[in-house]
Amino acid sequence: MNTESFNWEYAPAPEAKDHAKIKKQYDLFINGKFTKPLSKKYFATTSPSSLEKLAEVAEANENDVNAAVKAARVAYEKYWKKLTAKERGKYIFRIARIIQERSRELAVIESMDGGKPIRESRDFDIPNAANYFFYYAGWADKLEYAFPNKTPKSLGVAAQIIPWNFPLLMAAWKIAPALATGNTVVLKPAEGTPLTALKLAEIIQYADLPPGVVNIITGFGATGAAMVNHKDVNKIAFTGSTDVGKIIQKAVAGSNKKLTLELGGKAANIVFDDAPINQAVEGIVNGIFFNQGHVCCAGSRLFVQENVAEEVISKLKERMETLIVGDPLDKNTDIGAINSKEQLDKINSYLHIGKEEGLEIHQSNCNVPSKGYFCKPTLFIGASQSNRVVQEEIFGPVLTIQTFRTIEEVIEKANNIPYGLSAGVWTDKGSKIFNLTTKLRAGVVWANTYNKFDPTSPFGGYKESGFGREGGLHGLLPYITF
């Protein structure tokens, strides 16, 4: 019989990109049209894997922000406020349908611009973005049923600033509930990943939304600051770093603007000795290596009960060896490119800090492309609460592993952090899960799974992870008044 060792490396399986249409230059999407920026300035967006320049996008200055907010205000007073709720819903449905129709193109562009593996942009980001639009389209004409005996009213103009980790999905999280509740929008995607938001602008144009209902402008922090400080904005929604979130909250203080913040996280993923260990290992992998660890709710602090720690760590190391790091457009890639050089430098500085602190570091033996920004999946074993790599958000594929003995101990450690966005619990015992969900100070607690999202389920944080909820019925509240 044939017993010689059989090497079965997967041949490259790149997703074609010829159907993805990217213009050389993108203007600002204001009042239903792509318009030249008053700033007259453009900046490049590049691929973090191939390092090629993908397009130039406009940099909006204060005057451009004024124009966008004005367009949103006029659209609010002239069309959107007066439109029947049912008609509003139809427009949102239309956006959802077109996203589905163009999902392949959107997935490819998302992976090119942001570096995430095509498997995730194809199976997670784009279908979910469509799902959020579908879900909130359904609420548009049912708001009085969502809040019985109350009269929900729209706010006006919403300024929305989104991060680079899930560019199109975050745009959907922000735009869908705002439109469903009757608000108009000025949205700014992150400077590093503007392309799918600009494709969304094309979709919105194609869906024939009244001009100005959604405006999408590109730029850096200064553009965002101008949006936040604009006097004619009624609502600010921000997803991003805790540092910027604090600046925004100060800027908004004393104004009448409604604010929601979805900020950083450093989630505890807790594995008990009665957990389904093999599936927990899978959940640990999904928790920290999903989207290269660029996930605010990533399970970046692993807590393992001491009596199973050895088993869990050895199985985790073995599983990591099967993770393929490489070209984001290859269908077999598990971990794509780090989003930017700046982010890679930050991750590398934390790898240095962890080693300096004397932690045992483990990285998988995978090959990493020589071109582009890549980071091997990494473990810090034997970490403790006092390690900086445990306390601070790294936002990369880096997992710290701590052990615990009792349930009281792990609750205390899990909560001993300024953040409180999410947590994971792995145990076969239902009563233990419910006990922990009441004691963990986290907006989301996943049980025997991790990083699961659904439009019907609210998402948001405690403490320095922000406030306000997105998704579900709760996700309507930040955009209405009674």
Binding site: S5, W8, Y10, R119, G283, N448, T449
Partner: protein, 296 residues
């Protein structure tokens, strides 16, 4: 031995892992190599009441000549027949590398006495069977009579002599993945050389989640003892695509050492023809009628 411990398998997690295997894209030389390997792992099977020597003879010829118009094809690993057909199968296959496997132990229900099961096994082995596919007593297992199941497997293993023993768990009757894991542990501890999902007579037969749980049992046993156990999903795997998905799962769970027919088999009757069709397409560059492929 004590098998009263709790196993912890999360069905949702297993299904998610399987879904992830199935997103792997197998192209070009990886595909051809994988398909040829899958062909070489097949236990070509006929287990019907109406089996005759004539039928077995035709299947044996097919086992050695899968598609002679396509050069470079391997043979299948074995043919799998009832004990009464072992002698003739052995006779037809005598100059080839194809093994003869025989079901035994009151297949498929296993509801008989140990004496009869032992006689069944001896009969097949004495007639020249290289491999014995036994069934476990699922009723005793579900009653919690784990040591009964263990003892029975150990006794059959003893009766096998040099023949390799495949233990069929009939996972379609075990209901939970926790049970699948426990039955796998019992079979391995009792001396199984292979663990096998199904008889093919009960639905569902082999599924990827069930196979993954069994592969994990094999892996953990190997880690503890250094002893390898083989795996055979059987029944319900009929397309080249699903065979490749099983191979991806095998490759990423147990690794290259299991990627051969010494340690992995497909129990299937119609799978071979779909693989031949795909390999023929790779070679000719177009799909062609199934009438060009023999149905034996």
């Amino acid at each position: 031995m004590n098998f009263d411990y709790k196993t912890h398998i999360d069905q949702v997690g297993i299904e998610e892992r399987v879904a992830r295997f199935n997103t792997r894209s197998i192209k070009k030389e990886t595909k051809t190599k994988g398909l040829k390997l899958a062909l070489n792992m097949i236990d070509l099977t006929t287990l019907e009441g109406k089996d005759t020597e004539g039928k077995v003879k035709q299947m044996c010829f097919k086992a050695m000549h899968l598609a002679d118009d396509i050069p470079g094809l391997p043979t299948v690993a074995a043919v799998c027949v009832y004990p009464t057909h072992v002698k003739s199968a052995k006779n037809f296959l005598k100059n080839s590398a194809v093994k003869v496997a025989s079901v035994a132990t009151a297949f498929p229900s296993g509801n008989s006495t140990l004496d009869i099961k032992l006689n069944d096994t001896h009969f097949a082995v004495d007639n020249g069977a290289d491999e014995i596919d036994m069934v476990i007593s699922r009723g005793e297992f579900l009653k919690g009579n784990y040591n009964f199941v263990f003892d029975e497997i150990a006794a059959i293993k003893n009766a096998c002599g040099k023949a390799r023993l495949k233990v069929i768990l009939e996972t379609g009757e075990l209901s939970t993945l926790d049970n699948v894991r426990k039955a796998s542990d019992i079979a391995i501890a009792a001396g199984a050389d292979f663990i096998k999902t199904s008889t093919g007579k009960i639905q569902p037969a082999a599924t990827m989640p069930v196979t993954l749980v069994m592969l994990e049992a094999i892996k953990e046993h190997y880690k503890k003892t250094g002893i390898k156990i083989g795996m055979k999903p059987a029944g319900g795997i009929s397309t080249a695509k699903s065979a490749l998905q099983y191979l991806v799962m095998l490759n990423e769970t147990l690794g290259t050492e299991w990627m051969n027919n010494e340690w992995f088999r497909f129990g299937a009757s119609s799978l071979a023809n779909d693989i031949i069709l795909q390999l023929g397409k790779e070679q000719k560059g177009f799909y062609y009628s199934k009438d060009y492929i023999s149905n034996d």
